[in-house]
Amino acid sequence: MLATVASVSSANRLRLALLKQDVPSRVIQTPSSLTKEGCGYSIRFPDEYKPFVKKTAASLNINIRSFFREETNNSQTTYFKE
């Protein structure tokens, strides 16, 4: 799953906070099809951690723009807004 945030620094803050709580995550550049404002960053994490990611972001005052579930078929990834 992807949680899109405004900047790479917000993404890093969130990732490190998740890391401290043993939540596996990774910072990636937000796919251009998902960003209306360009050049965003996202956190990719296993779907089951969504409530946890939401809570951690809120505690850090980080605004998560959207959550997207990812599905890949035949090398084609489709994103579903949650």
Binding site: S7, S9, S10, I28, K36, G38, Y41
Partner: protein
């Protein structure tokens, strides 16, 4: 070489600092926040780590509100020009470096009324002298924490309290104190400092911290790697003040410098070597040492009947590096009474040892015939 110009920039740097600079240039090299590939993400992570380490050192509650600049001058300019507008008042002290003095002069050209709180002959600014200048038009108080001329330390915490009670903002210049003496910036509005002095980083690094709830206008406008479709600078920090590519190699090295300061307990060593040099200089007959004994590492001296620049030249022949003149702070020299002569500034650092001081002072004694 005996390097006693640590108030200008610290030297030598810890090995970890130079190693980090080299490692960044040779192994990482990517621009932070400008790509999704591993080294760019790692670079952004490193910036974040540096913010966290600085926040730990200075007790700053919001690391993301520490923005990187090319030096303290840029940080001070960003805070000043981003805060005051025509019709506002700004209060500065007579001990300010030209980084503030010239910025304030430019403010006055743009219609800002500049007031100056005058210091004592030891370079101390009484908080009350600032309080007495505040009016309902005062937008910003700008105060140097420690003088780059004579090391005198000002009570920034009392000045912040006065500013808060007066509904005014405060900006403190920590260039000569960050990494030299303990600082708790948790309750301060804005602080600016160099990365290459007490924090042991390389030249080309500086920082501005702006507490939550304050939002100065940015000094520079440009790409940040975020909100790219908007013509406006982002509101989020540090992006709001990070227009253009940051000095990532310098920040990687600065991060190691701050870790060194946190790890090595530099404050005690800095205090010990500075006190040792202060006492030894004060003991030389015919030498005057303005300022107070309790100070950061800048120790200015005057040797009557001797030109300060000439003495610095002679010391240079003996391989002793000191700085002579007005140290970019003419009003500070007026305040302590040394504007005509200038001073010779000796400033020790973490790596200065007592035999270095003994050698330098022995050379000084020979030059002035003592």
């Amino acid at each position: 070489m005996i390097y006693l110009d640590n108030a200008a920039t610290t030297f030598p740097k810890p090995n970890e600092v130079t190693d980090a600079l080299t490692a960044y240039m040779t192994s990482c090299g990517a621009s932070p926040g400008r790509g999704g590939y591993d080294s760019s993400i790692r670079s952004a992570e490193m910036l974040f780590e540096c913010q966290e380490e600085i926040a730990r050192l200075l007790s700053i509650p919001s690391p993301e509100r520490i923005v990187f600049t090319k030096n303290a001058t840029e940080a001070l300019n960003a805070a000043i020009f981003g805060t005051v507008d025509a019709g506002d008042e700004i209060i500065i002290s007579s001990m300010e470096h030209n980084a503030v003095m010239r910025a304030a002069h430019e403010c006055s050209r743009r219609g800002v009324y500049v007031k100056i709180a005058h210091g004592s002959p030891t370079g101390k600014i009484a908080p009350e002298s600032i309080k007495n200048l505040i009016t309902d038009k005062t937008k910003l108080i700008c105060l140097i924490h420690s003088s780059n001329v004579c090391g005198t330390i000002n009570d920034i915490y009392s000045v912040q309290k006065i500013a808060t009670e007066s509904n005014t903002l405060a900006l403190f210049d920590l260039s000569q104190s960050a990494g030299i003496i303990p600082i708790d910036a948790s309750g301060l509005d804005m602080v600016a400092f160099s990365g290459h002095k007490g924090l042991m980083g390389p030249m080309g690094t500086g920082c501005l911290y702006i507490r939550e709830g304050i939002d100065p206008s940015p000094l520079l406008f440009g790409g940040t790697g975020s909100y790219s479709e908007s013509a406006r600078m982002p509101l989020i920090y540090p992006d709001r003040f990070h227009a253009g590519t940051v000095n990532a190699p310098g920040i990687a090295a600065l991060c190691e410098g701050v870790r060194f300061v946190l790890r090595e307990g530099v404050f005690e060593k800095e205090k010990e070597i500075t006190s040792y040099m202060y006492d030894a200089l004060s003991d030389i007959s015919g030498v005057t040492v303005p300022g107070e004994r309790e100070r950061t590492n800048a120790i200015s001296v005057i040797c009557p009947h001797h030109d300060c620049v000439h003495i610095a030249e002679e010391l240079n022949i003996s391989q002793v590096c000191v700085r002579a003149g007005l140290h970019c702070a003419p009003m500070a020299h007026r305040t302590i009474g040394t504007i005509q002569s200038g001073t010779i500034r000796f400033s020790a650092g973490f790596f200065t040892e007592k035999p270095d001081v003994d050698f330098a002072l022995s050379a000084l004694k020979k030059i002035i015939g003592k």
